[in-house]
Each structure stands twice: as structure tokens, then as C-alpha cells.
């Protein structure tokens, strides 16, 4: 069984650990590029949200590379994401591709559980247990490495050093199998990031919260690598979402995440009365928290026509004045250009620097 799934940031590391643990061969499409987006947009409905198009492009590339099974989560939510798998797989089948699909959430849990009966290395329950442990281990490790890189980058003395170190740390982690080797890979990675030469003289980086729709916040190919770009401009960029959080939120196994979700929902209540099926509570709560924690600004990222985030987009200007924190809204679609985004980021950072000087004087 050659399984493929769409990319989302560094989620591929833990997801492939899960699938490989179940004995499946993972076909990894290349990281999304403009080509992926164009390929997806060609076959996707015209005004569907951008992540749909990118995921579709990923799937096409994976099928061209020989994948015979596509995996995707699916569900009945108010947000369109729940229908991605169903519609994408139909589009691909209509285009003449032959493959079997695993839709976690729509297919019964039992059928997903048994789908790996032929490939699992040991008995099914034991394999699932081990695979899920490996999955969680790697998700946590990726989270730790990313967090470390985020704190290091604004201080690096030669530009790009952190990104290179993170890159090789992730490659090492992805290659590691088994719990001992994963632990070693994580330690090595943290050492690599520690070894990045820092220059702490006189720098006081701005701190910016990144929030908005999950996929564009986490996928560097779509947000033009906003975390790195800001980091190299000497800005600490802290996303409120992470791959680990997304993967484990719905499983409700990590009490820290469950508790934080509850708190965020409560904080957002005066502005959004109901759950809308996306990350709207994190967007609203994240903005309020950024102001309370003394961050310098907020960058709100969302794909064109995204439903929950467009509601937030209407409410954010009010938060901006009520909590006195600058917000930059960036709407991204397949026509967004790197130069356009870079210019707006530079202007925003300039504005934040001036604001800090004014506040301090």
C-alpha cells in the first residue's frame, strides 16, 4: 500500500511516522510550490478556499509519483474543510486516476482501523498502539524544534543560520525510527540550534503574534514563509497555532490544549457567540492575549473566501481600537505575490518600530 496525504507545514513528519508504523509505504509529494497551487486551481471549483486547491495539487503530484491510496480527514463541520476529502477524491477519480481513499471521520473508525490489516508489522492493536506513540513523539519533537528556532532566529548573527540548522534538524528527525533514535535526533537538533551564533548586543526584537486560518498560518508555501521572513527582519513571530495542537486538539488527550481551548473560547465569547467550526476563537482570543502580553502587533492571515476568518476580519478592527494593538490583515490566494506580501510586512514592521519609539519616549 502506497499512501499519500496532503502537506501542511511539518505535519508530514509525524503523519508519515504514523503510517509507516502501520507498515504502509508513504509517498511524499514535494513541498507545495506555485506549481502545486496552479495544478490544484486548474481542477478545483473556482471560488473554493485556497487550501483546497493546494491539497488537490499535492494529491495530483502524489498520484503521479505512484501513490495508490489517498488519506484525508473528513467530517460534518460548518467549515468547508470537512468536505475536502470527499470532493477532491471525486475530482481525481473523474480525472481518470485510480486509487482507494481513506477518509478518516467519514469512513467508520473500524474500516480505517482494519485498512492496514495487510501491512501492519505485528498484530493490529499492537501496531496501532506503537504507531500512535511514534506519531505523538514526533509531533512533540517538531513542536519543540520549531519553538526553539522561533526564539533563536531574531538574534542570529548571520542571516539564514537558524533556518539551515532547523532544516537539518528536521531531516534528522524525519529519518529517525524508534523511540531512542527519535529522542537522539531531537537532542541533536536542539544542539544544532544552540550552536547558531547569536548577537545579543543592543537588539530588542519586536514580538508579533501570527494568527488566522490554520493552514495558511502553518504552511510556509502559502504564507511566503512569514515566520522566517519576520525572524530575519529581527522580529519574533509567534504563531498561536501549531501542527501538534491541531493534531491533538480533537483527540482531547492533552489536557493543556483542552484547557487552553476552553479559555480561548471564553475570552472570545463577547465577540463571537458561537463555535463556527474554524479557528475563530483562537483568532479573537489570540489578539486579546497579544495585547495583554505586551506584544507589538498581530498579523492575521486568512485564505480568500474563508468563512470563519472573514467573520473575524469584520470584528478585528474593533479589537484593534479596544485593546490598542496594531493588526495587519493579509488575505492570501493563488494570485498573492511574494513582493506584495513582503512590502506590506516591511511597512507593518516599520510602523511597529515607530510606535514602540513613540510609546517609549
Amino acid at each position: 500500500m502506497k499512501v499519500a496525504f496532503p502537506h501542511m507545514g511539518n505535519a508530514y513528519i509525524s503523519l508519515s511516522a504514523l503510517l509507516e508504523g502501520m507498515g504502509a509505504e508513504v509517498v511524499m509529494p514535494p513541498r507545495p510550490t506555485r506549481k502545486t497551487i496552479d495544478l490544484g486551481a486548474l481542477h478545483a471549483p473556482e471560488f473554493v478556499c485556497l487550501p483546497f486547491k493546494v491539497n488537490l495539487g499535492d494529491n495530483i503530484q502524489a498520484l503521479d509519483m505512484g501513490a495508490d491510496t489517498l488519506a484525508m480527514v473528513s467530517g460534518m463541520w460548518a467549515c468547508r474543510f470537512g468536505y475536502y476529502g470527499r470532493v477532491q477524491h471525486q475530482i481525481l477519480k473523474d480525472s481518470g486516476y485510480e486509487f482507494s481513499s481513506i477518509l478518516l471521520g467519514r469512513d467508520s473508525l473500524a474500516s480505517v482501523y482494519n485498512a492496514f490489516g495487510g501491512t501492519a508489522p505485528g498484530s493490529l492493536p499492537v501496531s496501532w498502539f506503537n504507531a500512535i506513540r511514534a506519531f505523538r513523539r514526533k509531533a512533540l519533537a517538531v513542536d519543540e524544534l520549531e519553538a526553539k528556532a522561533r526564539r533563536t532566529r531574531p538574534w542570529e548573527s548571520s542571516r539564514g543560520a537558524t533556518t539551515r540548522a532547523l532544516g537539518s534538524a528536521l531531516v534528522g528527525l524525519h529519518a529517525a525510527t524508534g523511540s531512542a533514535r527519535t529522542r537522539d535526533a531531537l537532542a541533536d537538533g536542539l544542539c544544532m540550534l544552540d550552536a547558531v551564533e547569536l548577537d545579543r548586543s543592543g537588539r530588542r526584537p519586536l514580538t508579533v503574534t501570527i494568527l488566522g486560518e490554520l493552514y495558511v498560518v502553518l504552511e510556509p508555501a502559502l504564507n511566503f514563509d512569514i515566520e522566517r521572513v519576520l525572524g530575519e527582519m529581527g522580529v519574533t513571530a509567534l504563531p498561536v497555532l501549531s501542527v501538534y495542537r491541531w493534531l491533538f486538539r480533537s483527540l482531547k488527550v492533552d489536557p493543556r490544549i483542552t484547557l487552553d481551548e476552553k479559555r480561548a473560547t471564553r475570552l472570545a465569547r463577547p465577540y463571537i457567540a458561537l463555535d463556527l467550526g474554524g479557528e475563530e476563537h483562537m483568532t479573537i482570543a489570540g489578539t486579546i492575549r497579544a495585547a495583554r502580553n505586551g506584544h507589538d502587533g498581530v498579523i492575521h492571515l486568512y485564505p480568500f473566501t474563508c468563512m470563519p476568518e472573514n467573520i473575524c476580519r469584520a470584528i478585528l478592527p474593533r479589537l484593534e481600537t479596544e485593546y490598542d494593538i496594531p493588526v495587519l490583515n493579509l488575505c492570501l490566494d493563488e494570485h498573492a505575490s511574494p513582493a506584495g506580501v513582503a512590502t506590506r510586512l516591511e511597512a507593518f514592521v516599520d510602523l511597529l518600530r515607530q510606535r514602540r519609539r513613540r510609546v517609549e519616549s
Binding site: 471560488f47 478556499c49 458561537l274 467573520i311 469584520a314
Partner: protein, 301 residues
């Protein structure tokens, strides 16, 4: 009671100016209507549609309808107090919700029972009119009599002897807003087509059709899918026009599901018409004419 006027250029411009840039047209229009009302009234009535089906698993409306009062309150300044009508049939009955709203109103509290009963029976009459083929404005005029503020009159459109029957599928706030749809129903009628609306399909027929496809969680779009499937199965419907709003989230997915799962084995011509605030009248007219001509020609053969 004050009701906002019919949609026009001014309302649209107001809405577009005060609303988020890339949201769907209906929300922009709603903003326009709110702005039209806000200085004339003491209270503003804004519905929050959460679930409109009592049973039926995980069915909700679209997130924008669920968050409509939040958007209005967040984006507009100087609003009168908002009366929020939260229709959540899964958790609260209509009567309960209506009573909550009635209690929040100033003035005498009495007479709720009688007015609720009359509202329910009026709504039933209205829905019977819709099933019988009236458009919402016409049905409103008929049910409410003189008091109805039902927009302008439309040519009856049941031109005798015309041979093409066209079904018009789409959200009522697009299809029946003569401004944004450039009076598509009237236009089709004047081209000699008999127009059948989504509202003319009985609920049972829609549910029968929906049972054939995997579940969809959006209540209103589910109806569009069921109605399309129903129309495609009927021999006396010669063409189907699906009207979508640009940037409508559920439509983008359900439209694709319709074209890939529902239309599969049907020979009935289907046209998808996407409307937004920039859609030109000539564009709608040309496509409606071409579609009716095509259907008529294929019938003649």
C-alpha cells in the same frame, strides 16, 4: 415596525463600503440593509440562524449566518440595541425562542400566545403560497394583504402555450432579489419560459432525494442539492439554472458535489450562473437568452 427598502444601488454601495472586502454578496447586501435602517429605528432585529432542522444529525446553517449579529456588532458603529433572534431548533423550540425575544421587548408583555399563533398560521399560509409557485414578494402580498411591503410586481410569467419549463435553483436571497439577480425570474418569463422555483419542491421530495447521497451538514445547501436532483429526475423540467453567489462557501463545495455526484447520468441541460455585485445586466440577459434558446432548440429536435 420599519422594514428596509428593496435592494438598490445605494444600499449595495453602503454595504460594500462598510463590509469586509472578500465576503459573499448577500452579507454585503445585509450590511447595506442594516445601514439603511439603523438611523430610523430604536431596536434592530437581526436573526441568528444556527440550526433550522430539529432532527437530521449535524445540520447547521453557514458560519456567516451563525455569526451575522457578531459581524454587525463588530463592524458597525452607532447601532441601536440589537434584538437577536437565535433560531436554534436543535436546542430550543421556536416558541421558546420567540418568547425569549418577546420578553426582551419593552412595553406590555401580554398577548404573546395569540400573536405567536397568528404568526405561525400566517407563515403556514405563506409557505403554501410558495409551494403553489408564487415568488416570496407575491406570496407576501397575498398573505399580508395591503400591509405587505412586497417589492414591486412582477409579470406573471405563466405565458400559456410556452413549451420550455425551467427550474431555478439557488438561495432565495439571490434568486428573488430583483436587483442582484437582475430580475432573472422575470427575464426568463418574458423569454417565454415557465419558471419553477426551489420553494415549489415539497420537503418530502427533497428528503427522498437527499437519502441517495452522503450527508451534507449545511441545511440550506442540502435543499439546493435535493431540489436539483429532484428537477433532474422530472421529465417536465427541460433545463435547470443554478444560481450561486460568488465567494459563497457552501455553494462552492455543494456546486461541485452537484456537478459530480448528482448530474452524472442526467441529460437535462444545467447552467451555473455566478452572481456578485459586479455582475452586469447584459451578462445575465445574454446567458439567460442563450440557455432558453438552447433548451428550446434541443426540445424541437
Amino acid at each position: 415596525m420599519a422594514v428596509s427598502g428593496p435592494t438598490d444601488e445605494r444600499l449595495l454601495k453602503l454595504g460594500v463600503r462598510h463590509c469586509v472586502d472578500d465576503i459573499c454578496v448577500p452579507v454585503k447586501l445585509f450590511f447595506g440593509h442594516v445601514l439603511d435602517l439603523k438611523d430610523r429605528v430604536d431596536y434592530l432585529f437581526v436573526p441568528r440562524l444556527v440550526s433550522v432542522e430539529k432532527s437530521g444529525g449535524d445540520s447547521y446553517t453557514c458560519p456567516k449566518l451563525m455569526g451575522l449579529p457578531d459581524m454587525i456588532k463588530g463592524a458597525l458603529d452607532g447601532l441601536p440595541p440589537v434584538i437577536e433572534f437565535r433560531l436554534d431548533l436543535k436546542n430550543h423550540s421556536l416558541k421558546h425562542t420567540a418568547r425569549t425575544v418577546a420578553r426582551s421587548l419593552p412595553g406590555r408583555g401580554g398577548g404573546f400566545k395569540a400573536s405567536f399563533r397568528s404568526a405561525v398560521s400566517t407563515q403556514a399560509l405563506y409557505q403554501r403560497e410558495l409551494l403553489g409557485g408564487a415568488d416570496p414578494a407575491g406570496a407576501m402580498r397575498k398573505v399580508l394583504g395591503e400591509n405587505g411591503d412586497g417589492g414591486r410586481a412582477r409579470p406573471a410569467g405563466r405565458a400559456a402555450g410556452s413549451s420550455v419549463n425551467i427550474a431555478l435553483v439557488g438561495h432565495d436571497y439571490l434568486v428573488h432579489d430583483p436587483f442582484i439577480s437582475h430580475d432573472l425570474p422575470g427575464r426568463l418569463a418574458s423569454l417565454g419560459a415557465n419558471v419553477t422555483f426551489t420553494t415549489q419542491v415539497p420537503q418530502e421530495a427533497i428528503e427522498r432525494e437527499l437519502a441517495l447521497y452522503p450527508d451534507i451538514s449545511w441545511s440550506f445547501e442540502k435543499v439546493l442539492l435535493g431540489a436539483t436532483s429532484h428537477f433532474l429526475r422530472r421529465d417536465d423540467i427541460h433545463g435547470v439554472i443554478i444560481v450561486m453567489g460568488f465567494a459563497c462557501g457552501p455553494d462552492s463545495i455543494v456546486g461541485e458535489i452537484i456537478s459530480r455526484e448528482v448530474r452524472r447520468d442526467s441529460a437535462t441541460p444545467v447552467m451555473v450562473l455566478v452572481l456578485d455585485e459586479h455582475t452586469g445586466e447584459a451578462g445575465v440577459a445574454t446567458r439567460a437568452e442563450a440557455f432558453v434558446d438552447m433548451v428550446r432548440r434541443s426540445r424541437g429536435r
